[in-house]
């Protein structure tokens, strides 16, 4: 390196430096005449993809019943413990949440609850901007979370697949045989 520092080297360094300076000035100058990429948020709301992770809802199955079976998987998966619930047996024999609470003030919208949800009941919506005057108002109860549609998967019905008798009798779920007759003597 040392022996290369001759006179031509110095000149080259000066020229290179000057070219570098000019290059950076040119780069910024061309950007000056570009169209800004900023989106003017309150006037223009970008259409969010359906899978954006925003406010959480509890959806219903195609027959209009609550999908949530209060299995505690979402609260188990939640890294900030913002979901709590109590399960119970509903009048139709289906397992459901007696109460279901999400503290959105604590929620980090990571979507792990949605991934954990086995019945596709809990879904994140693209609604990301919602404000409150008091932090307690961010605590949403079941009635605040329940919606009357199926969200992203309107056709799925957990109870059509799961072989429990709640809702429809044994043997009538998808892919099931007639119940075994335990007192039959036929082979």
């Amino acid at each position: 390196m040392e022996e290369k520092k001759d006179k031509t080297g110095l000149l080259r360094e000066v020229l290179d430096g000057a070219a570098g300076l000019a290059g950076s000035y040119a780069a910024t100058l061309t950007h000056l005449f570009r169209r800004p990429v900023t989106e003017q948020y309150p006037e223009y709301k970008r259409p969010m993809p359906a899978r954006t992770r925003g406010r959480i809802i509890l959806t219903r199955s195609p027959d209009g019943k609550e999908r949530c079976v209060a299995c505690y998987l979402c609260s188990g998966a939640c890294p900030v413990n913002c979901i709590s619930m109590q399960s119970e047996e509903g009048p139709d024999g289906r397992r459901r949440a007696a109460w279901f609470r999400i503290n959105f003030a604590r929620c980090i919208y990571c979507g792990l609850c949605e991934e954990a949800c086995p019945t596709l009941a809990l879904q994140l919506t693209p609604e990301f901007a919602f404000c409150k005057d008091a932090i307690e108002d961010f605590v949403y109860e079941k009635e605040d979370l329940l919606v009357d549609h199926g969200g992203k998967d309107p056709d799925y019905d957990f109870y059509a697949h799961a072989g429990v008798a709640a809702g429809r009798p044994k043997g009538e779920h998808i892919g099931e045989d007639e119940p075994v007759d335990v007192k039959s003597i036929l082979p």
Binding site: C71, G76, S87, R95, W99, E141, H161, E176, V182
Partner: protein, 785 residues
């Protein structure tokens, strides 16, 4: 002692140990569904396949079916074995209903764990799923047959281990079904264990159905307070409420299982009727006010009448810590007591029973299962100590002779001989069977001249007991004097109350009993009484009757007993689930129950509008109760007493730091007191009153547990021998009116030859406590329509 190598690690195990257990002793848990340490191998699930590389067996074998042998080299993670187990899981899942989200087993499900660890995620089997219809198995077990993987654990436990036959396998091939012949409650008093041993969600806990996931529960090792055996349990609590109690393995006491009384009687802690607030003269008040008032009132009594005018009463259901604190409080104040027992005789009987255990003659529940002859003297195993019946069953399975000499009708799930004898005949019968030489027919006829129907059975039993190498006498404390001097006989007393042994150890030999205190109150010598976790009505009717004569009555308790209602000052205490505590069981084994949850009104009752309240900065409701021992200390402070720092080590020889997880036997047993005289025939004519426990709701805690109370029989039953019934002119099933003191109780009459002649068996309930020792036709009367 075979030596073998498992996963490169050498291990030596006792002969006959299956390879799966040998691996477990190294900490290597081989996946399994059907194998259970208490039930042994069935080879049904094919899940525990491992590769045997060298030794007497070679190739892929089930580790539960192969006993460990010398020279074996086993690899649990051999690729072939892993692939095999993965395929097995996939096959087991072929008919699974895929309903984990609504299954209560989810989170502690063996099938779920193995499916996930095996990497099986998508069902490849294109066929249709086999389905079953479910049955209603009663209040404790929920049936969901579609989830079954046919490991036979339930059937083996229910039929082989417990000896009940109403539940089991049916059908063949791909249609095997586990259930009852028809829907109906399970008959076994150990049915709750089915939920514990079922590796899937087929049989789950019905009272805990849809309550919580395992991972959300606070869990702590606990000790069952519903009889004197002290079985190890795990308490699960969530949202300030105990939601479930499960068996904890304690090889020295209960093995792997507990009875349904211990499992389902936990509701008293979160009961809506539980008093959680202090009261002064019946008016709810703050803890500090009530404590100050208690101090002032008791101080006033001491000032006016002297320290001897204050007495302390404890009970056999308090922990050793509470009993010790009561003693310290009484000593600090120079007060009378504490009294733990109804009368002096009972206290001496329990002390004598414990004294008899000295010299290594105590037997544990596990050791009873290994005995070759067991005589239950004055003990009805299934009701006085339910898990004793399970141990007797194990002994009987191994060929032991079991005899139950007891006036009450006995049912046991094992072959046994029942000797229905009135209490005063029991010592004679015991002498026949516990002698070193077999009693001959003449001796038997001489001893029991009025019971000829028992002679053949006794003639059969006597030589068996005489020949037994390891016999055990299970006895009630009143019969402590019958403990044979013959050192062959192991001794196993069955006491009344979870910490009756602790009370006997803590109580001074000359401490007053409840009856003594009642006499002192009637004489005007005692004016102030501290009742700590004791119900005067259940403990001593005479004391309960004397309570109005007191100037002040301070009650410390967590149960809504009649004494709570009578209290002038009431101070709420914490339950065993909240404060923890040490209990001393019938064989003088100290065991520590850890606290599982802080006290507080359960969240389920705290809600408004269907969900818990939303104000977060408030004091939690119902958190006033303090440990009774702490309340004693605060009370002493209020009264300016210098309460000595007393540890129960002073009474038991075992300090709190010495209590091992599986329990530690007390080293300081009472010096053999003069054993009370055995029961004698009551003076005059009449039937001896014998109190009988039911499986549910007759123990001190179970009476206040809603679930246990729901299982109790609707009507009280009085049982008589046919001869006695005929003598009274009463017939089976007749409606009776029983006069207890000045009250009348309605009951029905059951007549059975299994009841001893001359005995009237009545329920052990507080309402019946006032019956005299012997009753006649003036007490038992036909109900007038």
């Amino acid at each position: 002692m075979p030596d073998l190598i498992i996963d490169g690690r050498p291990v030596r195990v006792p002969k006959g140990t299956p390879v799966i257990a040998a691996a477990e002793s190294l900490g290597i848990v081989i996946p399994r569904f059907c194998w259970h340490p208490a039930l042994g191998a069935a080879g049904a699930c094919r899940m525990c396949a491992v590769m045997f590389l060298d030794g007497p067996v070679k190739g892929l074998e089930m580790s539960c079916m192969v006993p460990a042998a010398d020279g074996m080299v086993v690899e649990t993670f051999h690729p072939e074995a892993v692939t095999f187990r993965r395929r097995v899981v996939e096959l087991l899942m072929a008919n699974h209903p895929h309903d984990c989200p609504v299954c209560d087993e989810g989170g502690h499900c063996l099938l779920q764990d193995e499916t996930i660890s095996g990497g099986h995620a998508l069902r490849r089997f294109p066929g249709r799923k086999r389905t079953y219809l479910d049955q209603d198995l009663g209040p404790f077990i929920q049936h969901e047959m579609n989830r079954c993987i046919h490991c036979y654990r339930c059937a083996r436990f229910y039929q082989e281990y417990c000896g009940y036959l109403d539940f089991g396998p049916m059908q063949n091939a791909n249609r095997v079904y586990f259930g009852r012949f028809a829907s109906g409650p399970l008959e076994s008093p150990f049915s709750g264990n089915l939920a514990d041993i079922c590796p899937t969600g087929t049989l789950t806990d019905k009272p805990g159905r849809y309550k919580s996931r395992r991972w959300d529960c606070q869990r702590a090792p606990s000790v069952c307070p519903h009889c004197s055996l002290g079985c190890a349990t795990v308490a699960l609590s969530r949202y300030r409420e105990v939601v479930r109690v499960e068996a904890r393995e304690n090889p020295a006491v209960n093995g792997h299982f507990i009875c349904d009384r211990g499992r389902y009687s936990f509701g008293y802690a979160a009961s809506a009727e539980r008093p959680r607030q202090a009261r002064a003269d019946g008016v709810p008040t703050s803890m500090s006010t009530a404590l100050a008032l208690a101090g002032t009132r008791l101080g006033g009594v001491v000032e006016a009448f002297g320290p001897e005018a204050v007495a302390v009463v404890g009970s056999a259901r308090s922990s050793l810590e509470t009993q010790t604190a009561l003693t310290a409080l009484a000593r600090a104040g120079g007060w009378r007591g504490p009294a733990f027992f109804a009368d002096r005789t009972e206290q001496q009987a329990v002390a004598a029973a414990l004294a008899a255990l000295a010299g290594g003659r105590a037997r544990s529940l596990a050791e009873i299962g290994q005995a070759d002859a067991v005589l239950c003297l004055g003990v009805s195993p299934l009701h006085d100590a339910p898990m004793l019946a399970l141990s007797l069953r194990q002994a009987a399975r191994a060929g032991a002779v079991v005899a139950v000499a007891d006036p009450r009708p006995a049912t046991l799930p094992l072959p046994f001989t029942h000797l229905p004898l009135a209490p005063d005949k029991l010592p004679g019968a015991a002498a026949l069977l516990t002698g070193a030489e077999a009693a001959d027919a003449a001796a038997i006829q001489r001893a029991l001249p009025l019971s000829p129907e028992l002679w053949p059975a006794l003639e059969r039993l006597a030589p068996a007991f005489a020949a037994a190498g390891n016999p055990v006498l299970v006895f009630a404390p009143a019969l402590a004097a019958q403990a044979p001097a013959d050192a062959r006989f192991g001794l196993f007393p069955v006491l009344c109350g979870p910490n009756a042994a602790g009370a006997a150890l803590v109580a001074d030999a000359d401490a007053p009993a409840c009856d003594d205190l009642a006499r002192a109150i009637e004489a005007g010598e005692v004016k102030g009484l501290v009742l700590a976790e004791a119900d005067a009505a259940a403990l001593s009717p005479r004391l309960a009757a004397a309570l109005p004569g007191l100037e002040t009555l301070v009650v410390l308790d967590h149960l809504p007993t009649p004494s709570f209602a009578a209290a002038k000052v009431f101070l709420p205490t914490q339950t065993l689930f909240e404060s923890g505590g040490t209990l001393c069981n019938n064989e003088a084994r100290l065991q520590y129950a850890a606290p599982v949850a802080p006290p507080g009104e359960p969240v389920s009752r705290d809600g408004r509008g269907g969900h818990p309240p939303r104000d977060y900065a408030r004091k939690l409701p119902g958190t006033d109760p303090l440990p009774a021992a702490a309340l004693c200390a605060v009370l002493a402070l209020e009264m300016g007493l210098d309460m000595p720092a007393l540890s129960f080590a002073a009474f038991t020889g075992v300090g709190p730091e010495d209590v091992a997880p599986e329990g530690t036997r007390a080293t300081r047993l009472p010096a053999a007191p003069t054993a009370p005289a055995p029961p004698s025939a009551p003076p005059g004519q009449g039937l001896v009153v014998v109190r009988d426990d039911a499986l549910f709701a007759t123990d001190a805690y179970g009476r206040y547990a809603p679930l246990a109370r729901a299982q109790a029989p609707a009507a009280s039953v009085v049982r008589l021998h046919p001869d006695d019934a005929a003598g009274l002119g009463l017939a089976d099933g007749e409606a009776l009116t029983v006069t207890v003191g000045d009250r009348r109780i309605e009951a029905t009459l059951a007549v059975s030859a299994a009841v001893a002649r001359g005995a009237a068996v009545v329920p052990r309930l507080p309402g019946w406590a006032g019956l005299p020792a012997a009753i006649g036709p003036e007490t038992l009367r036909r109900r007038q329509p």
